[in-house]
């Protein structure tokens, strides 16, 4: 038997209360177990949470939030913990509320083409459940086998197919949440829209700072009649970029159009032996889907544009197996880079698609002058770059140089009118970059939304915004009397000449 001594946890009173309220087994305070929740997919940030609640249902979430509110203790929501911006990074002085066990798919409704799911449901499981009806859930992050819908809603996640089908925000019609003051609220539902301000629009993508999602209603999408996929190999990135421009310029909206550069191809080759054409400086993966007649026409057009832009080889998938093979290299790319480099940073930035060649050249220069390698994998159709900055932490100074290059890439994105994140979110990692993209007034205005939802600032504090905003007092509800006074105040208004 092992005896563990532990320092008194300042959250002990809260722990005791919560245990009696929702059950001891759902409240974790064992340091070893707490440590497993210290980070999300961005492992360089680690904080051991003060306490972890493993919620089984909305009541558990609400109980946890209410106790936090009563004790003025911050809380952080977590789904599967695959986030890449440190959004689910815990607080040592706070509670991590884990929704991963809330995995019930409540409804798959083929008539209303929607699904109602709990937040811990894995993205791909929604599509699996809908498949018998010829439906699927469109947003498909590469992490779709492991990430949760609650996390997707918080991050407004996208995927390779969002170029045509849109992001999470375009597919969520309703959420139920526990508000940061411990209340329960339903925003939206099964219908396409609801009267009043579009709070759902603000909530999706708010990275757990406006409440904890306990149920999500998503729209499902009819499976396309036909899907065709090709892989085109080019000698240079410029040629591949030109092909993308030609395709988009011709009025084609591909379901997906992805690009990988030589270094990313090399990594994928080592990792999964994807067998992409040898000597390629860049490959394009293009998928066209939709009604068969449309697809046929469009696919021919895409093939022509690839050839005209200098593709030296074009492979067309004949069936689903071949399609999976073509996608294999792309889907493995992030992890594959681990095979050619001991460490790497996954960057996520966006540029206007037309500036792609220019930005890539600038990036190459940045990398070579800093002496680090950058592999590129990206959603070329919407200019979402995922540069993978390779380094060896064992080599003195390399990590710092990689960090610098990674940060400079974001500067490049902003200079070219883009964004510091296309899908991985701001989290804790990019909060410091927000002032490069937004003015103080912009950020202050966004935080007014936060003040409306969470005046006490307890929901995932320290994320998204570099500095918190002080919220004013909670307003009284405006009364009819005051409205009448407004009308009467008419008499007191100055005349035009005096105003200017």
């Amino acid at each position: 038997m092992r005896i563990r001594t532990k320092a008194a946890n300042p959250l002990s009173p809260l722990c005791t209360k919560l245990r009696s309220r929702i059950g001891a087994e759902k409240v974790v305070d064992d340091p070893t177990e707490l440590e497993t929740y210290a980070c999300d997919g961005l492992a360089q940030y680690r904080v051991q949470p003060g306490l972890v609640v493993l919620a089984d249902d909305a009541d558990d979430v609400q109980a946890a939030v209410q106790e936090c509110v009563a004790a003025e203790i911050p809380f952080v929501a977590r789904g599967s913990g695959t986030g890449l911006s440190g959004g689910a990074l815990p607080r040592a002085d706070g509670v991590l509320i884990v929704a991963a066990r809330m995995r019930g798919i409540k409804t798959i409704d083929p008539d209303d083409v929607c699904a109602v799911v709990e937040p811990g449901v894995i993205n791909l499981d929604v599509s699996r459940a809908a498949a018998p009806h010829g439906l699927h859930y469109a947003p498909d992050p590469s992490s779709q086998q492991i990430c949760s819908i609650g996390g997707n809603v918080a991050e407004n996640s996208g995927g390779a197919h969002c170029l045509k089908y849109g992001f999470t925000t375009n597919h969520v019609t309703g959420v139920e949440l526990v508000t940061p003051d411990g209340g329960r609220l339903r925003i939206g539902g099964r219908a396409a829209e609801y009267p009043g301000y579009d709070l759902l629009g603000a909530y999706v993508g708010s990275e757990g700072t406006l409440g904890i999602t306990t149920e999500v209603t998503v729209r499902l999408t009819r499976d396309p009649e036909d899907v065709r996929t090709l892989l085109a190999a080019f000698e240079t990135i410029d040629e591949a970029g030109a092909a993308v421009s030609a395709v988009i310029g011709a009025g084609v909206v591909p379901a997906a159009i992805e690009m990988m550069d030589a270094l990313a191809i090399e990594a994928a080759e080592v990792a999964v032996g994807c067998g992409y054409p040898e000597g390629a400086g860049a490959v394009l993966l293009v998928e066209i889907d939709g009604p068969a007649t449309e697809v046929q026409h469009t696919f021919e057009e895409v093939q022509r544009h690839c050839a005209e832009s200098g593709a030296f080889e074009v492979r067309v998938a004949k069936d689903d197996t071949e399609r999976a093979l073509l996608w294999r290299g792309r889907k493995s790319a992030f992890a594959a880079v681990g095979r050619i480099s001991p460490n790497y940073i996954i960057q996520d930035g966006v540029i206007p698609r037309t500036t792609l060649p220019e930005v890539l050249h600038a990036m190459t220069e940045l990398a070579s002058s800093a002496g680090v390698r950058v592999a590129n994998v990206f959603h070329a159709g919407d200019g979402n770059l995922h540069p993978l900055v390779l380094f060896d932490a064992a080599v003195e100074g390399e990590e710092e140089r990689a960090e610098e290059v990674s940060g400079a890439i974001l500067d490049l994105c902003i200079e070219h009118g883009g964004s510091i994140t296309g899908e991985h979110g701001v989290g804790v990692d990019k909060a410091k970059h927000m002032p490069k993209m937004f003015t103080a007034d912009d950020l202050d205005t966004m935080q007014r939304v936060r003040c409306a939802f969470d005046p006490a600032g307890l929901a995932n504090p320290g994320k998204v915004f570099p500095t918190p905003r002080m919220c004013g007092e909670v307003p009284r509800v405006h009364s009819a009397d005051e409205a009448r006074n407004d009308r009467r105040a008419d008499e007191a208004t100055p005349n035009g000449a005096e105003v200017f």
């Binding site: 629009g201 009604p291 035009g496």
Partner: protein, 422 residues
């Protein structure tokens, strides 16, 4: 003074909002000037209503007071059309028709309404008004609504703060999406001065497939069959009157060959009597497709229900309107489940208010809602007497009121116009 804004006294009848006479009209030429107007208004305790081309200025409840109409007619112009990126940045006062006219030669469009004319000289709604009023668009079945197309926004708050959100690229998750909050806000949260939209390629061929059926319920079955098929239409619309036939219209867009095959497949689903129209311009679309369900004077209800309920809802609207003795046009997206009921002719306000409540009860059984999009002042009054308003019950209303308080604590912008006490 750099911030000086053209501001005129007004006594003109055109400068009213729901019969409320404005005292001044301000016509800022820049975001900064708009900010100066709002700052001044806040300092002086004046109330401001933004105005585009006033096509939807009656939407929402009549404002309590209007001192300044902030008119965007000089806040115009396309700032940048990045055709290769399928993105456009435009000032808020720009007429939608001018925007369409700029995009059309590049074979691109803002995928909202096929009603938007591309002819020169037409002055329709403005970009800012379209964001703030959020008219339901026919193309929502295939492309979503303006919330799905708006990727960046510049807004001026009541205290003169100028804020941007989103940006110039389609894919972007940095910060809160303030643009969506402004969609449908009827000018109560801020004045939009600039917007960035994602665009789509204009289709090279378009066909409309129509059929007449007896009942909304049958129309609903057809919509369900279309949802099960893989034809990816851009719009599935319905048109019905008090009695008589219910028309279903399916808009198919794409490449010429594809559109031929898909429209024929759609016609097979709609049945023997289906007709296919080749559409080369708006003039080939039927009248009902081209006009809203209500004229300016009528009462317009916006009914949102889950898609499977939309067909039966048409019948319910017809039956309840008949009982209330009201002439109704029911039109909208059968596919998406967002319908308009336009009440017109001579009617008493009491039965209309009762009708709204009855429809709300029925819709609520299916998680549906009924918004009174526009109505005469006495209809609003009748609703008020029944303890409700144009917006109906909203679970998140207290949160919306807090949001309004954060954005506009002194209720400078269109006070009284929105839900609850907003």
């Amino acid at each position: 003074m750099g911030d000086a804004v053209p501001l005129n006294d007004s006594t003109a009848v055109v400068d009213t909002v729901a019969d409320v006479q404005a005292r001044y009209v301000a016509t800022p030429e820049s975001t900064e000037q708009a900010a100066a107007v709002l700052r001044m208004a806040t300092e002086r305790g004046l109330k401001v209503v933004p105005r585009g081309t006033a096509t939807k200025l009656e939407w929402g409840k009549p404002p309590d007071r209007v001192d300044i109409l902030l008119d965007t007619s000089r806040l115009v112009g396309i700032v940048d059309h990045a055709a290769g990126d399928l993105v456009v940045r435009v000032r808020a006062g720009t007429p939608m028709s001018r925007l369409a006219g700029t995009l059309f030669p590049k074979r691109q469009r803002l995928s909202l309404s096929t009603r938007l004319p591309v002819q020169d000289g037409y002055v329709g709604g403005t970009v800012g008004g379209t964001i703030a009023a959020n008219p339901s668009s026919q193309l929502r079945y295939g492309f979503g609504t303006i919330r799905d197309l708006l990727i960046g926004v510049t807004v001026v708050l009541a205290d003169g703060t100028i804020a941007h959100a989103g940006g110039g690229v389609v894919k972007n998750v940095a910060g809160y999406d303030l643009g969506k909050l402004l969609v449908g806000s009827l000018g109560t949260l801020g004045v939009v001065t600039e917007a960035v939209f994602r665009l789509h390629p204009a289709p090279s061929a378009t066909r409309l497939v129509t059929v007449e059926v007896d009942q909304g319920e049958i129309a609903g079955w057809l919509a369900a069959a279309l949802r099960r098929a893989q034809l990816a239409p851009s719009a599935v619309e319905v048109d019905a009157w008090n009695d008589g036939a219910v028309t279903v219209g399916v808009l198919v867009e794409g490449v010429p060959n594809g559109v031929v095959a898909r429209s024929e497949a759609a016609a097979r689903i709609l049945g023997r009597d289906a007709e296919i129209t080749v559409v080369e311009g708006p003039s080939e679309l039927p009248d009902w497709w081209l006009s809203p369900a209500t004229d300016a004077a009528g009462t317009s209800l916006r009914i949102a229900v889950p898609p499977s309920v939309a067909g039966p809802m048409v019948d319910i609207v017809r039956a309840t309107s008949a009982r209330a003795g009201v002439t109704v046009t029911c039109r909208g997206s059968l596919g998406a489940g967002v319908l308009h009921a336009g009440l017109s002719g001579e009617y008493d306000v009491e039965p209309v208010a009762a009708l709204v409540e009855e429809l709300r009860e029925l819709a609520a059984k299916h998680e549906g809602t009924v918004l009174v999009e526009s109505a005469a002042r006495d209809v609003h009054r009748a609703l008020g007497k029944r303890g409700t308003d144009a917006f109906g019950p909203i679970p998140a209303l207290p949160l919306m009121e807090r949001l309004k308080h954060e954005f506009d604590p002194d209720r400078v912008l269109a006070p009284g116009r929105f839900a609850g006490a907003i």
